[in-house]
């Protein structure tokens, strides 16, 4: 089930949907499936562009990989990000390009025969479907300032934590990215999904139970209509899902 809907704040103000996501079935591999969500920074100009480029490259890398493991996939994501950055950064490089185009979170869910493994830089939500079909939504790293990977390349950025450097090219390949990693056994859950932080709007609302029912039913079209309907009904207060929302389960 794949949902990707533009938030009402974005549609009202003519800002692109900045969530990007995909799922890929891995063939001839120890891993069954990889799902990825990238959530662009709302305040940035066009993070959807950087996220889209990254997603395309990362997906094509995954398609080519054989005998993969969770760690190899995470490393491939880092390698993919560095590859994108190497093509953006040069001697006359303007760091504002990164702030405009490359600020996005990275949320990876890897499923094999016995487990789900999660790696995340930034925020989002984990969705758990228990063996009794009970759905729980768990916010991860919820924060107004996610540690976007591109911050590592922007010395002037307030969120930049390393020593500033004037020589950007020399930094490539040496930076470290800190992922939060989680591991869940298949015996403990019927399914696990991931979502962008736009899903936070449903938590604790009167509509949460209906949302969960649609999730359990894997009613993708019904879920999309439900989101549209909620936004329409809450039009006077600017919609229900103001931020973009992506759900993969």
């Amino acid at each position: 089930m794949f949902i990707n809907k533009m938030g009402t704040y974005h549609s009202s103000y003519g800002i692109n949907n900045q969530d990007v996501g995909f799922t890929i079935e891995m063939k001839d591999s120890n891993v069954n499936r990889v799902s990825v969500i990238l959530d662009g920074c709302s305040e940035a100009l066009h993070p959807d562009v950087g996220a889209g480029v990254f997603a395309l490259l990362f997906k094509s890398m995954l398609q080519e990989m054989e005998h993969v493991s969770f760690d190899k996939i995470v490393n491939a994501a880092i390698g993919c990000f560095r590859h994108v950055m190497e093509n953006v950064i040069n001697d006359e490089f303007d760091p504002s390009i990164l702030e405009d185009y490359m600020l996005f979170t990275l949320f990876i869910l890897v499923e094999d025969d016995t487990s789900w493994r999660v790696a995340i830089i930034g925020d989002g939500c984990l969705i758990f479907q228990g063996n009794e079909n009970k759905i729980s939504i768990l916010p991860i790293n919820h924060s107004e300032t996610p540690p976007y990977m591109a911050y590592q390349y922007i010395p002037t950025c307030k969120a930049y934590t390393d020593e500033p450097s004037d020589v950007f090219m020399s930094m490539l390949g040496s930076l470290t990215f800190t992922f939060n990693k989680m591991f869940y056994k298949k015996n403990d859950f019927k399914a696990i999904g991931i979502a962008s932080d736009g899903l936070m709007a449903i938590i604790g609302s009167n509509e949460e139970e209906i949302f969960k029912q649609l999730l359990v039913a894997r009613n993708e079209a019904g879920m999309k209509r439900f989101i549209n309907k909620l936004n329409l009904e809450n039009n006077e207060r600017g919609g229900f899902f103001k931020d973009d929302v992506t759900v993969i389960i």
Partner: protein, 223 residues
């Protein structure tokens, strides 16, 4: 009762007449109103029309857009029978001609039903596009409504950016279609092969309009 557990008064009847929202397999649909002239002047084309309708149905069924297209067939002669918006597999391909032509009534009552279902779908979060197409070989001869009222209705369709399309089977209905304000008017010859071509154009146009992000209000016909 909707799948989301919300009960909405008066909506069960709309769902019963048309395709219930819960039966839709997509979040967006393209409604296609197909009004077909069944007046006596079409007698000699009955067999060909049945074949053309079979082809029309098959073309949409075999397209990638099939899940998104709901067709309401309206048969008009002396009487008017407007069906609900149904999945293409449910389209009736029978054809019997007889009697006069209630063209204006078809436009007005067909539009009313279209607007009701459109609004119903929108309230349920469905994204809706619509096309209103008529196939006729002649002038109105028996409507209860006036030409003025029909013209006003076509304007309402156009104002809501719903595709308005008219296929004139022979030259007689051309002027009427233009006077009524249809934005897409196509004249085809009054022959078997042209009839087949007309329905072929309609199926291709319905599919193409469904693929389009916005309604092809001014360039609907795909020939």
């Amino acid at each position: 009762m909707q799948s989301n557990g919300i009960k909405v008064d008066g909506m069960d009847e709309i769902d019963a007449q048309n395709t219930p929202v819960d039966d839709l397999e997509t979040e967006d649909v393209n409604l296609f109103f197909l009004g077909i002239d069944q007046s006596g002047s079409m007698d000699m084309f009955q067999s060909e029309m049945r074949k053309a309708l079979v082809d029309f149905k098959r073309a949409i069924e075999n397209s990638k857009e099939a899940q998104k297209i709901l067709v309401a067939r309206a048969n008009f002669s002396t009487r008017l029978a407007i069906g609900g918006y149904k999945k293409i597999g449910e389209l009736d391909v029978d054809y019997q001609s007889n009697g006069m032509t209630v063209l204006y009534d078809t436009i007005i009552e067909g539009t009313d039903k279209l607007f009701v279902y459109m609004e119903h779908l929108k309230q349920q979060g469905v994204r809706v596009k619509a096309a209103f197409a008529l196939f006729s070989d002649g002038l109105d001869t028996a409507s209860n409504h006036t030409c003025y009222a029909a013209k006003d209705t076509v304007k309402k369709l156009n104002d809501r950016e719903i595709v308005t399309a008219f296929i004139s089977f022979g030259p007689e209905a051309m002027q009427e279609a233009n006077d009524l304000g249809f934005k897409n008017v196509l004249e085809v010859g009054r022959t078997d092969s042209e009839l087949r071509r007309a329905l072929n154009v309609l199926s291709k146009s319905a599919i193409s309009n469904s693929k389009s992000v916005v309604n092809k209000t001014g360039d609907f016909f795909e020939q």
